[in-house]
């Protein structure tokens, strides 16, 4: 099983999802920012400003490459062209970390630009493990796999998500990216306990933690339905869940994700400062 302490990747400091509009702010006024995360697919062009900016950023900060399009949970074979693009990016950039999602997004060669859910069964476990092995063999390093936000359940599932992720890390040696907002969203939506989820999570394999905002809605029965939107500040119960998690596993690289309705740098700086305080609390 992946042991985060034996695979140092990112520093246990605050990080942020990089948005090009913040380039100058990050270069001039990084504050406690210790690293940056970029979406792999945005840097798969041949050249131009995106690649040039990424080269500059990588001279200053450790970079985490976070893929959103590999469809590791897909029924079909992984997209060989996309794997080759990923290999190329990781080869030239040599990032501090590479991560992807426990989800699918491609079917019959069509990409749907969303993280779609899969049931947890011995059959899907075999398939996802084989895809992770293929990715790790291709890029030549262990990857981190992120827990999803769940809105619904599959009647056919026979394993818990935490057991599924633990089995994947045992079988493939991959690490895990723990998104505590996703934990909170899923637990609320599926009427389970987020603390129980953290208790059952293989925390030793966690190489990175994500924090983000979510939207609030209701389903047709009036039950709360939280939607992982990455378009708001992190809510207090998620900060509390982060403190709960760090108290169990110690400091980790922490990322603020804000992908829609992206605010000005001052707002993100406030979120980054709060992750810094959470790290200080966990270290004390």
């Amino acid at each position: 099983m992946f042991d985060a302490t034996q695979n140092p990747t990112l520093p246990a400091r605050p990080g942020v999802g990089y948005k090009p509009q913040h380039y100058s702010d990050i270069m001039d006024n990084p504050g406690p920012l210790g690293w940056l995360e970029v979406h792999a697919e945005n840097y798969m062009g041949d050249g131009g400003r995106p690649i040039a900016q990424l080269r500059h950023l990588a001279e200053r900060f450790p970079i985490s490459v976070h893929g959103v399009g590999l469809s590791i949970g897909g029924e079909g074979a992984l997209d060989a062209d996309h794997l080759a693009r990923l290999k190329h990016l990781i080869s030239w950039l040599n990032p501090a970390s590479f991560s992807e999602h426990l989800a699918w997004s491609t079917h019959d060669s069509h990409f749907y630009n969303d993280l779609l859910p899969l049931p947890y069964t011995p059959q899907t476990l075999d398939r996802v493990a084989s895809h992770i092995n293929q990715v790790q063999d291709t890029v030549g390093r262990p990857m981190l796999l992120e827990n999803p936000s769940s809105y619904l359940a599959f009647a056919e599932s026979t394993m818990s998500e935490t057991d599924f992720l633990r089995a994947l890390t045992q079988r493939t040696g991959c690490g895990l990216l723990l998104d505590v907002n996703n934990v909170f969203v899923s637990a609320t939506n599926l009427k389970t306990s987020p603390q129980d989820y953290i208790d059952a999570f293989p925390l030793a394999a966690v190489g990175e933690i994500h924090l983000g905002g979510h939207d609030e809605d209701e389903d047709e029965t009036g039950a709360p339905l939280l939607i992982d939107s990455h378009g708001k500040a992190v809510v207090d119960p998620v900060w509390a869940l982060l403190d709960y998690t760090l108290a169990k596993c110690g400091t980790k690289p922490l990322l603020i994700e804000w992908d829609t309705d992206v605010p000005e740098w001052a707002v993100l700086s406030g979120e980054i400062a709060r992750t810094d305080r959470a790290l200080a609390l966990a270290a004390s």
């Binding site: 041949d46 400003r49 749907y112 056919e156 389903d219």
Partner: protein
């Protein structure tokens, strides 16, 4: 009660269809509003990508119309790769066939410009030759050489005033378009793509140079409207010539 990804996708793309059996809420009941989250995410995500990709087409047809059209487009032409920055390659032919836009004959060429600008933005970086390397050649020698053209360079020839229409929708004080055929060249001297008015003969010449014809071959087939000096001057000032071979 296995929910295949084919069944999930079919239901996701068709809001009128039932949620696949086997997808449940925490009480084991049908989870239609929960399933709608994915329906919404996919439609909104792909529509947003199209809006970002085609701001001028959107301005020409209006926000509300574009949103509705995007909903049709994304179901007919879902992305074929996870590179969302290139999503929308089929938009020109879609606009040409889509009944409500068929009468806007210039729209497909405007969409081609917007696609070309994005391809130029992400095109490989190249180092231009110094202008003197070309201007120093004797006329005979000049006619025998080929020019390697930067990958950002693209041309579009239209029966419509596409340069003027594009400018009128992106620049505050641009002149009103006058009906006439226009051709454009998309270039990228630094990091930001630029649009240049040329004529059809110049577009043909640039395409021939890109394809590896010698300068002599390109002018042998050109008509009187080709001003080779002007084409070469434009290519050189836009850093578009990367090698003489």
């Amino acid at each position: 009660m296995t929910v295949t990804q084919a069944a999930f996708r079919a239901a996701m793309l068709n809001p009128a269809s039932a949620v696949p059996a086997g997808i449940v809420n925490p009480d084991g009941k049908t989870a239609s509003k929960r399933f709608d989250v994915y329906r919404n995410n996919v439609a909104v995500g792909l529509s947003d990508a199209l809006e970002a990709a085609f701001p001028v087409v959107r301005k020409l047809v209006g926000d509300e119309f574009f949103r509705a059209m995007a909903g049709v487009y994304l179901r007919q032409h879902p992305p074929k790769t996870p590179l969302m920055m290139f999503y929308g390659d089929a938009m020109p032919r879609f606009l040409a066939r889509f009944k409500p836009t068929q009468s806007f004959s210039y729209l497909p060429d405007i969409a081609r410009i917007e696609l070309a600008m994005r391809h130029a933005y992400h095109a490989a970086d190249t180092a231009p030759i110094a202008a003197e390397a070309l201007t120093a050649l004797a006329p005979d020698a000049l006619m025998g050489v080929r020019l390697r053209i930067a990958p950002a360079i693209q041309t579009i020839s239209s029966d419509y005033p596409i340069h003027a229409i594009y400018r009128a929708n992106t620049e505050p004080d641009a002149p009103k378009p006058v009906m006439r055929p226009e051709a454009v060249m998309i270039a990228r001297a630094g990091f930001d793509p630029t649009l240049h008015l040329i004529n059809a003969a110049a577009a043909t010449c640039i395409d021939a140079l890109k394809a590896g014809e010698t300068l002599g071959q390109t002018i042998a087939t050109a008509d009187d409207s080709l001003d080779l000096g002007a084409v070469l001057g434009l290519l050189l000032t836009q850093g578009a010539v990367t090698e003489i071979y």
